[in-house]
Structure formats: structure tokens, C-alpha cells
Amino acid sequence: MSQIGPVLVDGIIYSAWLFIAAVGLTLVYGVMKILNVTHGSFYALGAYAGASLTGAWLARGFPPMLSYAVLLGGALLVTLVFAPAIERGLLRFMYAKDEVVILLVTYALFLILEDTIKLIWGVNPYFVAEPYALLGSFEVGGLRYPTYNLILVGLALALSAGLAWVLHSTRVGKLLLAVIHDPEMSRALGVNVDRFYLVTFTLGSLLAAIGGSFTAPTVSVVPGLGVDVIVLSFAVVVIGGLGSLPGAALGAVIVGLVRSVSVHYLPQVELFVIYSVMALVLAFRPRGLFGLAEPRRI
């Protein structure tokens, strides 16, 4: 099995990408119980902002090594423009409604954002391959990989460590856990739940935008970019367990490896196996592999 090396490397790279793209979704669901379709819009927004800003940055002849910071800055910029406005301006009036209705509200927002993107950036594709090509490449089992992919892996590891640290070792994280467990009781004890919702939604959207902006150099950025990502991140997050951070990591690794194995050995079944895993997990453990039982309320 000489292919085992490339299969693993592909799997790890794809897992890292999936984790970055999907972790924000589980965060938002875990805290706010919103299955957020606009997640894909923020991914696309991040990709467009990253591609256009980096393109402008390089065209002016600024140091190309800093283009990674520009990618990050682009993601931050679009998130700060759109996410707080959406949460404060619309979503907060919907929290009393049914989970499914809120999902439809985010679906409506997704349709609106799709066209907003076209209005801002037009319908022509954007290419910025420089950050991707800049770092050279490495070789595994006779196949060459761009070193850029290692940035994705590093970013995924840093994000998961950072989120775990914030959630379990800081005051804010502990308050957030309290909000997740019982928003009403937290409110009664003086926690500013509204602010937690605002910050969570913004942070979750920022993660999607970062996923998009760091993918931008590897693809051509075209309209409809976020549409696939939505349902793929749904799969990742559902496999791990909605609202569970370790679950999102596990889901990303499972989907990443499964896809990599199928692409190497039987490419016809790629999409089929990903969603079959999702359906199997739902069939046997509907709350996902790491999902917790609903805490009982009186």
C-alpha cells in the first residue's frame, strides 16, 4: 500500500480545512440553538474579501509575505461589517420562534447575502494564487504538496486549542458554558446574555470567513462559492454532534479521511460516502458521536 502516505496527508489537509470551515457553525448552534445557513455566506464573503484585498495588496507591491495577514484582516473586516448588523438587526427578534423557523430566517438571509456579494464584487471570478505558491512545496510518497496546506493544518490546530482554552480556562468561557446550559437562569444571575449571543454569532461568522479567505488562494472565487460549504459543514457538525467542539473536530477528521480514501480508491462515490456517513450517524446516534443528551428542565 504505497498510497497510504498520500491518502493520510490529503485526509489531514482536508480535515483541517473542514474544521476551520465548520467549527463556527457548531459554536453558534451550541450557544444560540441556531442552525445558521448564513454560515456559507460568511465563508463566501471571507473568500471575496480575502481575494480582492490580497490582490490589491500585491498589485501595489507590498511585501507578499504579509499577504497572510491581509487574508485574516479581510475576513475580520467583512465579519465586523455584516455579522453584528444581522444579529442585532434581525436575528435577536427571532429567538422566541421555533428552531426550524429561525433556520428559514437564516436561509432568507443567505439568499439576500448571495446577491449582496454579487453587488459588491460583481460576477467575474477572482484569482490570487500568490499566497498559495509563495511557500514552495514538500513531498510525501512521490507526490508534491504546496506548503501552504500546512498553514491550514496549523490554523486548525491553533483554533481548536484556542477555543478549548477560552471555553474551559477563562472566566468568559465559564460564563458562556452557563449561558449554554440555561440562558434564563444566567440572565437572572446577571450575565449579559444578549452580549454573549452577539459575540458568539460574530465569532462563529468570523471563523467561517477565515475559512473562506484562507481557501481563496487555492480556488477561483466565483458566485455560489458558499453553497456547497453550507451542507458540507452541516454534515461535519452533525456527525460530531451539534454544538460540540470536540465533535466538530472528530467530524472533520472522519469526513476528511473518508473523502480522501474514496478520492484515491473510488472517486465516483466521494459525495455519496460523505452524506452516507452523516445519515448513518443520524440513524444510530441522532445527537452525533459527541452529542450530549438534552439537559432535563423542569
Binding site: V100, L104, V105, Y107, I112, D115, M278, A279, P286
Partner: protein, 311 residues
């Protein structure tokens, strides 16, 4: 007891299509036919919605119906609308019967997600199967009605009338079903499942039956859409297609079996006008319409026609 006005309403709509269709231009007849196809799917979603379930994978059955119609043409060369719709409905019903054993156990967001996963599995299958044309899909043979190909000037009218007969017939049967004890269980399940079980009814059985009926309607709708467009592709099973159906269901409301068709027509009208006015921002108009419907008409467009009794 109030007299049941729905059969009369269905008859009026049919008469309006038969007579009004003579005066309408061809392209509106096409929109009308598509509205009947989508209305059939949404009628099924309405049955599930009454029981508190929202399926984000109804495109699965829509696409099964469409590909059954396409396959019939390829295997037997038949393009008969009635054969296509019957076969599409039967194929969808068969799949739903099997998947129903699994899905009838799920509620809320998990029902939606599992149906989404199942439709995406089907999408993944046909997108990669070259025999079915992969992402390009395939063209259908020319539609016939009872083996006859209508004259080119009349084909849109004939199809709109045939679609109206079949769709409104299905709506009438669904209306009758909703009057049976099993049909009446839907809202009861939504309100309180445990109470329904204590009454001696099986919630799982009732959901399973509703699920199969919904799939049958979606299969028929898919075949109708396929044959009137003349082309099918895997996008018909993609999640955005399911999203559109849920959109129409929310827009229509669950007030009457006529509501889904009205909602689908309004959806088609918004779509056509928005696309005509500004091709790059039609989705924005659709999204805005959906938001407005959710905020101001939580019971759908149909609630505009229901007289509210005071107190």
C-alpha cells in the same frame, strides 16, 4: 356544521385554468404548469408540516420522479405525461415506504437533517453516474398526452390543463384524506404526541403514512416538472431545491389544500418578475419575500383569505 367549500374551490380553479388558459400567452402557461408541479411537492410538505415536521430533503422525491420520467423515455421511448407522473409517484412512494421506517422516529431539527442527508446521498449518486448524464443531466423525449403529441401551438395549453386536472385531483384526494381519522391526527401529533399515543393511535404509523403520501406527491410533481421543462439534472436533488419547496410551504401556509398551488404561483410570479427586473439580484428579492412572510404572515398567504372571527 359549515359546508365544505374546498371541492367547489378546486373546481373553480380548474375551470379558470381551462377557460383562462385560452387567453393567456404561452410563457404564462409554462409558469402555471411549473406552479402545479411545485404545488404538488408543497402539498406533501404541508401534510408533514401539519404534524410539526419540516423536511429539508423533499427534493429527493422530486428528483426521483423526474429521473423516473427521464428513464421511461430512454428505456421505452414513452413520453406520455400520465404514465410519467404515475411511474414517478410510484417510484417515490416505494423509496419513501422504505426510508419511512427510519424517518418516522425523528422529530424537529433531526428529521430535517436526516432527510437532508438522504437527499444529498442521492445527489452524490446521480452526479457521478455517467449513465444518467452526470452533472449535465439528460433531455426527455417529447411529451405526449394519451399517446398523442399536441400541435405546437397548443402543447403548452394542453399540458397546463392536464397538469391542472392531475394536480387538483391529487389535491382533492388529499383533502378527503385530511377528513379521515388518520388525516386528522397531524395537528394532534404536533400539539401533543404522548396524548395521541394514549388515545390509542400510533404516532409513528401516522407519520409514516404522511411521509409516503408526501413523497408520492413530490414524485408526481417531479415528473410533471421534468416533462414540461424537457430536461433534468442533478440540481433537482440539491439542498437548494429542497429549500425552495420549504420556502413555498412557508409562503403558502397550511390552511387549505389549495394554498400550496397559490403559494407556488406567487413564488413563480415573484421569481419571474424579480429575474426580469434585475437578473443579478433576484435571490435578494426572494430572500426579502421569505423574511416578510415569516415576520408578517406566520400562517402564510392563505391566512389573508380566512375570515377571522372576533373573540
Amino acid at each position: 356544521m359549515k359546508p365544505d367549500r374546498t371541492p367547489a374551490l378546486l373546481g373553480t380553479v380548474l375551470a379558470a385554468v381551462v377557460l383562462g388558459g385560452l387567453a393567456l400567452p404561452q410563457w404564462t402557461l409554462f409558469i402555471l404548469t411549473i406552479a402545479f408541479a411545485q404545488g404538488l411537492v408543497v402539498l406533501g410538505l404541508m401534510l408533514l408540516q401539519r404534524a410539526g415536521l419540516v423536511s429539508f430533503g423533499q427534493a429527493l422525491y422530486y428528483c426521483i420522479g423526474a429521473y423516473t420520467a427521464g428513464g421511461l423515455g430512454r428505456a421505452f421511448g414513452t413520453g406520455d405525461l400520465f404514465v410519467q407522473m404515475l411511474a414517478g409517484a410510484a417510484a417515490a412512494a416505494l423509496v419513501a415506504l422504505m426510508l419511512g421506517f427510519l424517518l418516522a422516529r425523528y422529530r424537529g431539527i433531526f428529521f430535517g437533517l436526516l432527510s437532508l442527508a438522504l437527499s444529498m446521498i442521492f445527489y452524490g449518486l446521480i452526479v457521478k453516474s455517467e449513465a444518467l448524464g452526470s452533472t449535465d443531466g439528460m433531455n426527455l423525449v417529447k411529451t405526449t398526452l394519451f399517446g398523442v403529441r399536441p400541435d405546437a401551438a397548443w402543447v403548452r395549453y394542453a399540458m397546463a390543463v392536464a397538469a391542472a386536472c392531475l394536480a387538483l385531483g391529487a389535491a382533492f384526494l388529499t383533502h378527503r384524506y385530511l377528513k379521515t381519522p388518520l388525516g386528522r391526527l397531524g395537528p394532534a401529533i404536533k400539539d401533543n404526541e404522548i396524548r395521541v399515543e394514549y388515545m390509542g393511535a400510533s404516532v409513528r404509523y401516522a407519520i409514516h403514512v404522511n411521509y409516503v403520501i408526501a413523497a408520492t406527491l413530490a414524485g408526481a410533481g417531479g415528473a410533471l416538472a421534468a416533462t414540461s421543462v424537457g430536461h433534468i439534472d442533478p440540481e433537482m436533488a440539491y439542498w437548494t431545491t429542497s429549500g425552495e419547496f420549504v420556502f413555498i410551504a412557508i409562503l403558502s401556509g397550511a390552511g387549505s389544500v389549495v394554498a400550496p398551488f397559490f403559494g407556488a404561483l406567487v413564488f413563480g410570479a415573484i421569481h419571474t418578475v424579480a429575474y426580469d427586473v434585475s437578473p443579478n439580484t433576484w435571490q435578494m428579492s426572494m430572500g426579502a419575500a421569505l423574511l416578510l412572510a415569516i415576520v408578517f404572515l406566520p400562517d402564510g398567504l392563505w391566512s389573508l383569505f380566512v375570515r377571522r372571527r372576533p373573540g
